[in-house]
Amino acid sequence: MIEATVKKKLGSFTLDANVSDENFVCLTGKNGSGKTTLINLIGGILIPDEGHITLNSKTITNLPIERRQVSIITPDSCIPHLDVDRHIVWGAKNKGLNVEQDYITEIKTSLGIGFDGKVRKLSLGMRERVALATSLISKPELMLVDEVLSNIDNRRDFIDAFKNFATKAKIDVIFTTQSPEDSSEADHHYRLESGKSTRLF
């Protein structure tokens, strides 16, 4: 359960948003509406001027990124020099989690990761699949997926599979998208307009 009531002024732009939900949350809005700013505030890349953020009843408003149990995935998110198999377990190893090979294989198959090689040499869509799989296996409490899903082919199937794994692992997800049809996959939908959030369902 993520609860964020935040205000942040960046130049002439002011974000004044409120998100309070769990499971699979969709965030839509035009360019410059504040989606990435909100993601960065929840992820710890930015600190709000006012407000508070709690995750599963713990206050994380001023915590550094590495202590939030929040994974941020953007189109550039990866550890470029690793090969796919080492990348996928990197986060879990960091946290000292023991991950069964069957689970890794299941995730790789379901998310369409049937390739190998250095992550920096993969296409954008392939890299994003690997980044999302790595985050899922590291079991954060919240995944922030910013403009990632639109670069992936067979998107509907991919989102279904991704949502399925996130739900089973009890990981809340907030994903941003420009595509209105992606919101139909979500449990909740927020729209941002000029820095103001509206809960649609």
């Binding site: 590495e66 941020i72 953007t74 998110s77 470029p80 990197w90 985050s135 590291s138 922030l144």
Partner: protein, 253 residues
């Protein structure tokens, strides 16, 4: 020819002509065998080795600082790190001399534990590191700034500490930047004269007992033997520097 090409060609010629002229004179009309004697090559060897060690020390000690400056605004820290490069270099030599002097309590302490900077390879490396490290930091800082911070935020979000992110994410993807910056830093160390003329005019340790660093030797040849020996030794040193620059270009590409 457009005006920019013309101006660029002229300004490049301003830099290159003196070097070509020196090479021509050094290996031509003013050639003096003293300028390519065993002593010169030993001196160049000392300069290359000490400069390479200074560059390695810079990599080990100053890479985290360059990364810190790249990721945090700290104009005071950046100004302080520029000081050794922006003051007259004999001052650096005098400063090291004072630190290591038996006249000061700290110098006495250093000598009591066997650390001597004066006329030693250690003193030479310390001086070269101090004057070339700011160049290394200035080269690495924009490299780190150009690295995509999304990789680091992703690693932090996966629970990695800042230290682990630096060691396991930033450094493995910085190899080319570190190599390029350390070669620039080494080139700067090779050309150093001011500080080492004071702290290590010559070295009194094997395997370089009595050997001058190359820039000091060229100055010495000029004062002892005159222009011919100095110009020939300079031409030899320039060839070594050109080889370094070619290596640098190869690394960059």
């Amino acid at each position: 020819m457009n005006w920019l090409k013309l101006v660029s060609g002229l300004s490049l010629a301003l830099l290159v002509i003196p070097v070509l002229f020196l090479l021509y004179e050094g290996f031509g009309p003013l050639r003096d065998p003293i300028g390519y004697s065993y002593e010169v090559f030993k001196s160049i060897e000392l300069t290359l080795i000490s400069s390479a060690i200074a560059a390695t020390v810079s990599v080990a000690l100053f890479t985290p600082l360059a990364y810190y400056f790249a990721r945090n605004k700290n104009s005071i820290g950046e100004t302080l790190s520029d000081i050794p490069a922006s003051i007259p270099h004999p001052i650096v030599g005098v400063a090291i001399l004072v630190i290591a002097s038996p006249l000061t309590p700290f110098g006495k302490f250093l000598l009591s534990i066997g650390i001597n900077f004066f006329d030693s390879i250690l003193g030479l490396i310390v001086a070269l590191t101090i004057v070339s490290a700011p160049i290394y930091i200035k080269s690495m800082q924009p490299f780190f700034q150009s690295m995509n911070i999304a990789h680091e935020n992703y690693a932090l979000g996966l629970g990695a500490s800042k230290f682990r992110t630096f060691i396991s994410v930033v450094l493995p993807n910085s190899g080319r930047g570190i190599l390029s910056a350390s070669l620039i830093s080494m080139s700067r160390a090779m050309s150093e004269f001011g500080s080492i003329a004071i702290i290590a005019y010559y070295v009194l340790q094997q395997p370089f007992y009595g050997v001058n660093p190359a820039p000091v030797l060229i100055f010495q040849y000029y004062t002892y033997y005159g222009l011919g020996a100095a110009v020939t030794a300079s031409a030899v040193m320039i060839l070594v520097s050109i080889a370094m620059m070619i290596l640098l270009r190869l690394v960059k590409h």
